[in-house]
């Protein structure tokens, strides 16, 4: 079990266990975390699962693919050059065991 902590802009926190193989987006959507939509179902096509990964968890994440790169340029809230990622591209077990992210103000 990995652990994901979602920090909302208003200071609220959702802390969830994530099964290996589940993405940060899926874990949020399945557990009703506000602020992550995942409109395309995890295809890196819609940019509605944008998150800001906290600095201390950036190591170990996969490189940004060409598809994710393009979508990160279209996010509703501004992209952070270091911390912005799509939650559908980050998988528990494969990429992290413990991660904390900040949620943007807007997703669509």
């Amino acid at each position: 079990m990995a652990k994901i902590t979602y920090h909302h802009a208003d200071g609220n926190v959702d802390s969830l266990d994530a099964e290996a193989g589940m993405t940060l987006m899926m874990t949020a959507v399945l557990n009703g975390v506000d602020g992550i939509i995942g409109e395309c179902g995890g295809q890196a096509i819609c940019a509605t699962c944008h998150v800001y990964v906290r600095d201390e968890y950036l190591d170990g994440l996969p490189a940004i693919s060409a598809a994710e790169e393009e979508m990160l340029e279209t996010t509703a809230s501004p992209r952070d050059p270091a911390r912005s990622r799509l939650g559908c591209q980050l998988t528990a077990g494969d990429h992290f065991d413990d991660i904390e992210v900040d949620l943007p103000d807007e997703q669509d």
């Binding site: 179902g41 995890g42 096509i45």
Partner: protein, 427 residues
Amino acid sequence: MNAMTDPENVVVVGNGQAGIQLVDSLRKEGYTGAITLLGEEPHHPYQRPPLSKDYLAAGKDPVPLPLRPEKFFTTNDVDARLGARATSIDRTARTVALDDGTTLAYSKLVLATGAANRELTVPGTALSGIHGLRTLTDAQTLHARLDAVRSVVVIGAGFIGLEFAAAARARGLDVTVLEYADRPMGRALTPVTSGFFADAHQRLGVTLRLGEGIASFDGNDAGHVTAAVSTTGERYPADLVLVGVGVTPRTELAAAAGLEVENGIVVDGSLRTSDPDIYALGDCASFPNVHAGARTRLESVQNATDQARHAARAILGAGPGSGPGGEPGGYADLPWFWSNQGHLRLQIAGLSAPGDQTVLRGNPAEEKFSVFCFRNGTLTAVESVNQPADHMAARRLLSAGRTLTPEQAADPDFDLKTYSKQQPATV
């Protein structure tokens, strides 16, 4: 909202992408009246696109992705009913009857009824082992059955058929695709991209038979399919058949209520039907499409969600676009679409038409290229394979009503991305 004598209740028929987004947008736009959301299926509303892609991969039962978390409906005070089918509309009384005998009053009614899979009528169609793919239940059945079969025949080389074919090949199954037309995805794609996919699927090991429709199915004594027989008389062994021969819009409620229907429920530029209190959107709606220069019906997530956002504003009187369509303020969002077939990611921006000039950018041999479509020298659509940057540039250009020249599109040194982000010097 305008003053009304009746209590406000927006009733939404259909809880797919369109219906759910409409509800979400109504609340975001400040609507505080009642909302009733009807879904025919027993499941909590879920995302359909993964059902023909990731969902079919080998392994344990995949988890359906909800369109919104369950608490969305309580937080937003939505009376969301599952397994609830609307059976008729009384436009005079402004009520909808449900199959459980209840009647709901509406101030505005939204039809987001979607589409139904077209069914075959050839001999043998009633055999077991012949499946469609639309609902979560369909996908769950297929996911389980794919573990137990060896030979798969797919009827129809459209998006669903080819996504399914790629997923079945990835599981090591023998896959034959029968397509009546002379090229795959022919209604949606230019011949260049269509031809690329024909070759690519054969490289993946799919047997693609073009110009061969389905004539009949053979079955065994247990009533299970054993083979598909094509219109040329060829016989293809099959333990499982997937039928993907297109859809028909769900217009029966609208038609029975006397609303105008013609290849979909006819709506204007604000997604309003011939009854000003009834709207229709998504797969079921035939709308004036400024990008096609004609009335069209589109089946895509983009079309469902963008129309829902537009309709929500129209319902609340917050947006322009109440005219016949094509006028300023009418629904005009750019159509875009995607299909994942194995390792191939197809993305389409805009709408091409037969006869458009096509310009190739990139290299199909490397499975990374885009086809730019032009009509009278103006960009109409771009089909991209494994080229997300081209796709996003195309969306920026087409959404802004901009173009580039065919020469620029073909020039590998032309900086498409930077160009697409520039503001036009003159409008």
